[in-house]
């Protein structure tokens, strides 16, 4: 029960709020400044991706960012309700997130293809 979850309509204006939440939880969980920079960017990228997916497919259902600091790793899950194949424009965002997180997986969400991203950071890395 130490998950913090932020639910919001898939709009670009809320992405900054999601970054703030992820970084605030990670900071309290004791992660280092380099990891906080990585988390800020990764969560920003994955939320921007979700907003784009929802915009492209006309989805207005809220998206969700969950940050779980209970285990040995800080785990973050970003979920949207869109159903969309991987777009060409996602390449850079995904490359960045792969480069900045300790583990990253892409799976289906409640709406279909590509709607859920798992990110995690080892607490001990810094």
């Amino acid at each position: 029960m130490s998950t913090v979850a932020l639910r919001f309509s898939p709009a670009a204006e809320h992405v900054r709020t999601a970054r703030l939440v992820a970084v605030a939880v990670a900071r309290r969980a004791g992660l280092g400044e380099d990891q906080l920079d990585a988390i800020r960017l990764s969560v920003g990228e994955m939320c921007a991706r979700a907003v784009r997916r929802c915009g492209d497919t006309g989805v207005t259902e809220p998206m969700l960012v969950e940050v779980d600091d209970a285990g040995p790793r800080l785990e973050i899950v970003v979920t949207d309700s869109a159903d969309a194949a991987e777009g060409d424009d996602e390449y850079v965002a995904l490359a960045l997130v792969r480069g900045l997180s300790d583990d990253m997986d892409l799976g289906d969400g409640p709406g279909g293809r590509g709607g859920r991203v798992w990110l995690s950071w080892d607490r001990s890395a810094d």
Binding site: V15, R40, C47, A48, L96
Partner: protein
């Protein structure tokens, strides 16, 4: 912290100072500004990113778009950035090979090469 974009002329160069967060929400306003400058005949741009606190891939896309636009007019787009966390974003995405990146504005203004590594300077 919204995005602030100001521009001024330094000889033949146009210096665009950007501060705040460049992200999916604010990047369109930077794109618009770059497009306006190019449309009004400014083809040698220096984007000063010292005041940038956050940069995501949407922001990178805008800078790449600006670079393509000035190049179609044989122009240049140089970046000024010394912040490690921002440089890292260019490095991971391979864009350090595409943009000339300078640590200071003075250095960017002094640079007369047209390739990232200054090979033809």
């Amino acid at each position: 912290m919204e995005l602030t974009v100001t521009s001024r002329q330094e000889g033949a160069r146009t210096v665009i100072s950007v501060s705040g967060e460049i992200d999916v929400y604010t990047a369109p306003s930077l794109r618009e500004r770059l497009n306006e400058l190019v449309a009004s005949g400014h083809y040698d741009l220096v984007v000063d990113m010292e005041g940038v606190e956050f940069l995501d891939s949407t922001g990178l896309g805008v800078l790449v778009g600006g670079l393509k636009r000035v190049r179609s007019h044989d122009g240049t787009l140089r970046l000024v950035c010394a912040q490690e966390k921002i440089l890292k974003v260019f490095r991971i995405t391979g864009l350090t090979k595409v943009f000339p990146i300078h640590a200071t504005l003075e250095e960017a203004l002094a640079d007369t090469s047209s390739t990232p590594d200054g090979a033809d300077a």
